[in-house]
C-alpha cells in the first residue's frame, strides 16, 4: 500500500485508533444521542422536580421536602422493601438457571423440536398476566383450587398442598413470564456464539455440563449479566401479581405501595416519585456492579475469521433436555393458556356447575365493540412504529456506547437505564407534563399515536440498548476495520457488516418492543385519548368492570396478533439461515 493511501486511511480512521473519531456519521450519531438524552432526561427531570411540589390541586405551586419525608417516614416501607428484594432474589435465581438452560437447549444443542420449544417460550412472554393469575388461582387456591382438590382426594390429604396466596405462589405465578423474558434476552447472544469454542472444549475431553458451565456461560457473561440486571430490575418493579396474590396474604411490596399513592384521590405523585428513588438507587448499584464485573475483559465471539453456529451433539441427553423443556412448557405455559382460552368461552370463568356454562357471547361482544377496529389500527401503528424506530435508535445508541470514544458515553449509558427506574404510570405522567409544558410544536403531538410511540420507545430503551450492547460487544471491531481499510465509508460498513451480524438480535429487540407496545397499559395511560386508544386500553375498560371473560378474549386476541408477528420475525430469521447455508 502506498504511503499516501495509508496516511489517508489513518486519517479517516481517526489516527491509528481502532475506534473511529468525528466524521459526518458521528455528527448524525451525536444528534441521535442528543435527542435521546433530551427525551429521557427532560421528562424525568420534570418528574423529579415536581416530586418536591407540595401544593394541593388548585393552589399556587409550593415547594418542600414533605412528600419525600412522608414517603420515607412510613413504617411499612422497610417491610415492603424487604419483601420486594426477597421476591426479586428468589425469582432471579430460579429464572436465571432456567433461562440459561433453555437458551442453551434451543441454540447450542441438537435437542428435538427446538423450534417448537423456542416458540412456546416466546408464548410465555406475551400471555396477559392478570387473566393468567386468575387461572392459577382457579387451579391452586387452597380452598377450591382444582389441582389442590384433586390431590387432596387422590392422596387423602387433610389440607391443601399448595397455596397460591404466598411468597412461593407469587414466585410460581411469575415463573412463565420471567423465564421467558430472560430466555428472550439471552437467546440472541447464545445464537451468535462461535461453536468452535465449544467444539475445542469437547475435543479436549470436557463433558456437556462442563462445556456449558466452563465455556458457554463465561463467554456469554455480558449478555447473561445484562439480562440478569434487567430481569432483577423488572422483578423489583413488578406489581400486578403481588397486588392480587400478595395483599390477601399480607405480603406488601414497594410497587404496591407506589400503586396506592398513585391511586389516591387526588394522587400523591410526589410521594410516589420519592419512593421510586429506591429503584433508581438499585439501578445505579447494578450498573456499577456490571461495570465492575465486566471491566477490562474481552467478550468477542464473532471475529474476522468467520464463525460457526452449528449445534453440539449431546447424544442421548437430548431426550432428557427435551423432556424437561416439554414439562416446563406444559405446566407453566400451556396449562394456564388453555385455562385462559377456556375462560373466554365460559359464561362465568371457572364455574362449571352452571346450567349453561359455555358461551361464545364474550367473543361476539368483544369484536362488536364500536371502538374495536380503531383500537386495533392504533395498536398496529403503535407496535410497528415503536419496534422499527426503537430498534434503529437503540442500535445507534448501543454503537455509540460500545464502539466510540466520545466523552459522555457512560453518561448516556446510565441515562438509557433511567426509564426502568420508574413505574410506567410515572413515565406516562412525566411525558404528559413534558409535552404539554413545551412549545406549540411539541404540543401538537398530544392526542396522537406518535406520542404513544415515543413513550414506548423510551420505556423499552433499557432493554433494547442493553441487549444490543451485548450483541455489539460480541462482534469484533476488525470486521468493520477491514471494511474501512477496503475503502468503504463507515455507513456502508455499519449497514453491510454489523447490522446483518446483529440481525437476530435486532429482530428479537423489535419483537420485544412490539410486544411491549401491544400489551402496555400504564406507560400510555395519560397520553392516549379517545382518538388514540389501543387494544390494551380497551382491555382495561373490560377489567375496570371486572369482565374478566371479555378481557381474556382481548388477551387471547393480542396473543394471536403477537404470535403472527413472531412467525414473521422467525421467517425473517430463517431466511437469514438459508442465505448463510
Amino acid at each position: 500500500m502506498e504511503l499516501s493511501k495509508v496516511v489517508s486511511l489513518t486519517k479517516r480512521m481517526g489516527g491509528f485508533e481502532t475506534r473511529p473519531y468525528l466524521s459526518w456519521p458521528w455528527i448524525f450519531s451525536l444528534s441521535v444521542v442528543g435527542l435521546s438524552a433530551l427525551v429521557l432526561a427532560y421528562p424525568l427531570a420534570i418528574l423529579f422536580i415536581r416530586s418536591f411540589a407540595i401544593n394541593p390541586p388548585g393552589e399556587p405551586t409550593a415547594w418542600g421536602l414533605e412528600g419525600w419525608i412522608a414517603a420515607y417516614n412510613d413504617r411499612a416501607v422497610p417491610i415492603a422493601i424487604g419483601n420486594t428484594l426477597l421476591l426479586a432474589v428468589l425469582r432471579i435465581t430460579i429464572t436465571t438457571a432456567l433461562a440459561i438452560f433453555f437458551a442453551w437447549v434451543v441454540t447450542r444443542t441438537d435437542t428435538p423440536l427446538k423450534g417448537v420449544i423456542e416458540m412456546s417460550l416466546w408464548l410465555g412472554f406475551f400471555l396477559p398476566l392478570l387473566p393468567m393469575t386468575m387461572g392459577w388461582i382457579l387451579l391452586l387456591d387452597p380452598q377450591y383450587g382444582l389441582i389442590n382438590q384433586f390431590l387432596m382426594k387422590t392422596f387423602r390429604l387433610s389440607s391443601a398442598p399448595f397455596d397460591i396466596f404466598s411468597y412461593w405462589g407469587i414466585v410460581w405465578s411469575h415463573l412463565a413470564f420471567s423465564t421467558s423474558v430472560r430466555f428472550l434476552l439471552m437467546t440472541p447472544a447464545f445464537k451468535s456464539m462461535d461453536a468452535a469454542l465449544e467444539e475445542a472444549a469437547r475435543v479436549s475431553g470436557s463433558s456437556n455440563a462442563g462445556v456449558l458451565l466452563r465455556i458457554t456461560v463465561p463467554v456469554l457473561a455480558p449478555a447473561l449479566l445484562a439480562s440478569t440486571v434487567l430481569g432483577f430490575i423488572k422483578s423489583l418493579e413488578s406489581f400486578e401479581i403481588e397486588l392480587v396474590l400478595g395483599i390477601p396474604a399480607g405480603i406488601y411490596v414497594l410497587p404496591t405501595k407506589i400503586y396506592d399513592l398513585i391511586h389516591w384521590e387526588p394522587p400523591l405523585y410526589n410521594r410516589a416519585t420519592a419512593l421510586s428513588g429506591i429503584f433508581l438507587l438499585a439501578i445505579f448499584a447494578l450498573i456499577w456492579l456490571q461495570y465492575a464485573l465486566l471491566h477490562g475483559r474481552q467478550y468477542t465471539t464473532i471475529t474476522g475469521r468467520g464463525y460457526v453456529v452449528r449445534p453440539l451433539s449431546i447424544g442421548r441427553w437430548r431426550w432428557a433436555t427435551f423432556g424437561v423443556s416439554l414439562l416446563f412448557i406444559f405446566v407453566m405455559i400451556l396449562l394456564p393458556l388453555v385455562t385462559l382460552l377456556m375462560g373466554t368461552f365460559m359464561e362465568f370463568f371457572g364455574h362449571f356447575d352452571m346450567a349453561k356454562p359455555w358461551t361464545t357471547r364474550h367473543w361476539m361482544q368483544a369484536f362488536s365493540d364500536s371502538v374495536f377496529l380503531r383500537s386495533l389500527m392504533n395498536t398496529l401503528i403503535l407496535g410497528i412504529g415503536a419496534s422499527i424506530v426503537g430498534a434503529i435508535l437503540y442500535v445507534l445508541l448501543s454503537y455509540y456506547i460500545v464502539r466510540t470514544r466520545f466523552a459522555g458515553r457512560k453518561t448516556v449509558d446510565i441515562l438509557s437505564w433511567l426509564p426502568w427506574g420508574l413505574p410506567g404510570i410515572l413515565i406516562s405522567l412525566a411525558l404528559l407534563w413534558a409535552t404539554l409544558g413545551s412549545g406549540g410544536l411539541v404540543k401538537v403531538l398530544y392526542g396522537t399515536i406518535y406520542l404513544l410511540v415515543a413513550a414506548i420507545i423510551i420505556k423499552e430503551m433499557p432493554l433494547g440498548t442493553q441487549i444490543l450492547k451485548a450483541g455489539i460487544m460480541q462482534v469484533s471491531n476488525e470486521l468493520e476495520e477491514a471494511s474501512m481499510v477496503s475503502g468503504a465509508p463507515w455507513p456502508r460498513g455499519f449497514c453491510r457488516i454489523l447490522l446483518p451480524l446483529l440481525r437476530p438480535t435486532l429482530i428479537a429487540v423489535a419483537l420485544i418492543v412490539f410486544i411491549s407496545a401491544v400489551r402496555d397499559i400504564p406507560t400510555v395511560i395519560f397520553l392516549s385519548t379517545y382518538q388514540s386508544r389501543t387494544l390494551s386500553l380497551l382491555m382495561l375498560d373490560y377489567i375496570a368492570e371486572a369482565n374478566m371473560e371479555r378481557a381474556a378474549v382481548l388477551g387471547v386476541f393480542i396473543v394471536g396478533l403477537i404470535f403472527a408477528f413472531l412467525l414473521i420475525g422467525r421467517l425473517l430469521g430463517m431466511k437469514r439461515v438459508a442465505v448463510e447455508s
Binding site: 386468575m134 390477601p248 362465568f348 409544558g437 386508544r533
Partner: protein, 372 residues
C-alpha cells in the same frame, strides 16, 4: 294614622297583585324563551358537531354514554375517554396548565370533581346550562330537586344514588339472620372469617369505612374492634365475591354489588345484606356530573348535560354503571332490590362536600389497622 294604614294596606295589596300579574306574565314569557333557547343551543351544537366527555372506566358505560346520545342527536358525535379519577384528574389538570382545553363534560366520582377539578377551577357552574325543563323537573327527582355534592348547589350534580352494599354472606356457612347489625361482626366466632374490600384505596371498601367512621352508633372505636377480627383486605372485587361464594370467606364486608350479583347468577350460595341496623349509606359512585370550564364545544356540552339528566339519559347511565338513578321515573329492573333506595328512608350521603372532606380520617384509620 288609620287612613295612612289603610292606604298603605291598599297600596301593598295592589303592589302584590301587580307583582303576581307581572310574575305570571314573565313566566308566560319564560316558557317560549326556554324553548327558543334550547332550539338555538341545539342548532349551534349541531354546528359544533362534537362533544368531548371524560367519563368512568368500562365498556358498557362508554357505549351507553356515546351511542344513546348520538342516536338522540344525530350530527353530534361523542368523543369519550374513560378512566378512574386517579387517571382523569391529573390529566385534566396538566392539560389545562398546558393551555389545552379539550373536554366539555365530566362524568365521574364526586371525589374527583370536588377534590381535584373544582379547586383547579376546571368546572363551570351548571345552573346556567340547565335549560331543558325535563332535566330539572322537581317531581322527577328523589328529593324533589336536583341533588348537588357542593353546598352552593351549582357545580357537581349527583345523578345516581344506590344503597351501598354492606355485607354478603355464604348462606351455607352463615345464616343471614346472624348478621343483623354491624356489631354482630364483632362476635368472636367470625374471627378470621371476614374479607373486606380494601378500604385504603378508592372503592366500596373506602366508602364503607367512611360510613362506619362517621356513624354516631359505630365510629372509630368500632372500626378498631373490627380490626381485631383478623379481617382479610382484598383489592380484586371478583376475588372477594368468589371467595364468599366458594366459602373461603364466609362473610364479605363492603363487596362490589355487581360482582355479588354475578356470583349469585352463577349459582353460588351468596346472600347479600343491603342494610344493617345501624343504617346505610347512599353512594353516587361514578355518577356525578360537571361542566368543564372553557369547554371547546359549549353548546354541544349544554345539549349533552340536559340530555343526560332526562329520563332517557339517566336510564342509559344507570344501566351502563349498574347503579340506581336519583330520578324516580328511571327503571331499576336491572338492579337487585338491595341497591335501590327506599322512598322514605334516610341514608347517609357519601358524596356530600362535608363527607368528602372527612374521608381522609377514615382512610388513615384503615392504614393504621391494615398497614400501608
Amino acid at each position: 294614622m288609620q287612613r295612612f294604614r289603610r292606604k298603605w294596606f291598599l297600596s301593598s295589596v295592589t303592589c302584590g297583585l301587580l307583582s303576581l300579574v307581572l310574575a305570571h306574565l314573565a313566566s308566560g314569557q319564560t316558557k317560549p324563551s326556554s324553548q327558543e333557547q334550547w332550539e338555538k343551543t341545539l342548532a349551534e351544537a349541531r354546528k359544533e358537531g362534537k362533544v368531548v366527555v371524560y367519563g368512568p372506566p368500562g365498556a358498557t358505560v362508554r357505549e351507553a354514554l356515546t351511542q344513546g346520545f348520538e342516536k338522540a342527536f344525530p350530527g353530534i358525535s361523542v368523543g369519550f375517554l374513560g378512566g378512574s379519577g386517579a387517571a382523569i384528574g391529573p390529566r385534566v389538570v396538566t392539560e389545562r396548565r398546558g393551555g389545552q382545553y379539550l373536554v366539555d363534560v365530566f362524568v365521574g366520582s364526586s371525589v374527583m370533581l370536588m377534590n381535584t377539578l373544582r379547586p383547579e377551577k376546571a368546572l363551570d357552574p351548571l345552573d346556567r346550562v340547565l335549560i331543558f325543563p325535563e332535566a330539572q323537573d322537581p317531581k322527577a327527582w328523589r328529593t324533589k330537586r336536583l341533588e348537588f355534592s357542593d353546598k352552593e348547589r351549582r357545580w357537581v350534580v349527583m345523578m345516581t344514588g344506590y344503597v351501598h352494599l354492606e355485607v354478603a354472606v355464604n348462606s351455607n356457612l352463615v345464616r343471614p339472620d346472624d348478621i343483623r347489625a354491624f356489631k354482630d361482626l364483632l362476635d368472636p366466632k367470625w374471627k378470621g372469617k371476614i374479607a373486606l374490600t380494601d378500604p385504603r384505596i378508592i372503592g366500596p371498601g373506602q366508602v364503607g369505612f367512611t360510613f362506619l367512621y362517621h356513624s354516631k352508633k359505630l365510629g372509630p372505636d368500632y372500626i378498631r374492634a373490627l380490626g381485631k377480627q383478623e379481617i382479610t383486605p382484598l383489592r380484586d372485587h371478583r376475588l372477594l365475591a368468589e371467595g364468599v361464594g366458594r366459602g373461603k370467606y364466609p362473610i364479605g364486608l363492603f363487596p362490589q354489588p355487581t360482582q355479588i350479583q354475578q356470583v349469585i347468577s352463577a349459582g353460588l350460595p351468596v346472600h347479600p345484606i343491603g342494610k344493617l341496623a345501624e343504617g346505610s349509606a347512599l353512594a353516587t359512585g361514578f355518577g356525578s356530573l360537571g361542566l368543564a370550564n372553557r369547554a371547546p364545544h359549549p353548546n354541544a356540552a349544554t345539549v349533552y348535560i340536559n340530555w343526560l339528566l332526562t329520563k332517557d339519559g339517566q336510564t342509559l347511565l344507570a344501566r351502563g354503571l349498574a347503579y340506581a338513578s336519583r330520578r324516580l321515573d328511571v327503571p331499576t329492573d336491572h338492579l337487585p332490590s338491595f341497591m335501590v333506595p327506599e322512598a322514605n328512608e334516610s341514608y347517609f350521603e357519601m358524596d356530600h362536600e362535608e363527607t368528602l372532606k372527612r374521608r381522609d380520617a377514615a382512610v388513615a384509620l384503615a392504614r393504621e389497622i391494615f398497614g400501608g
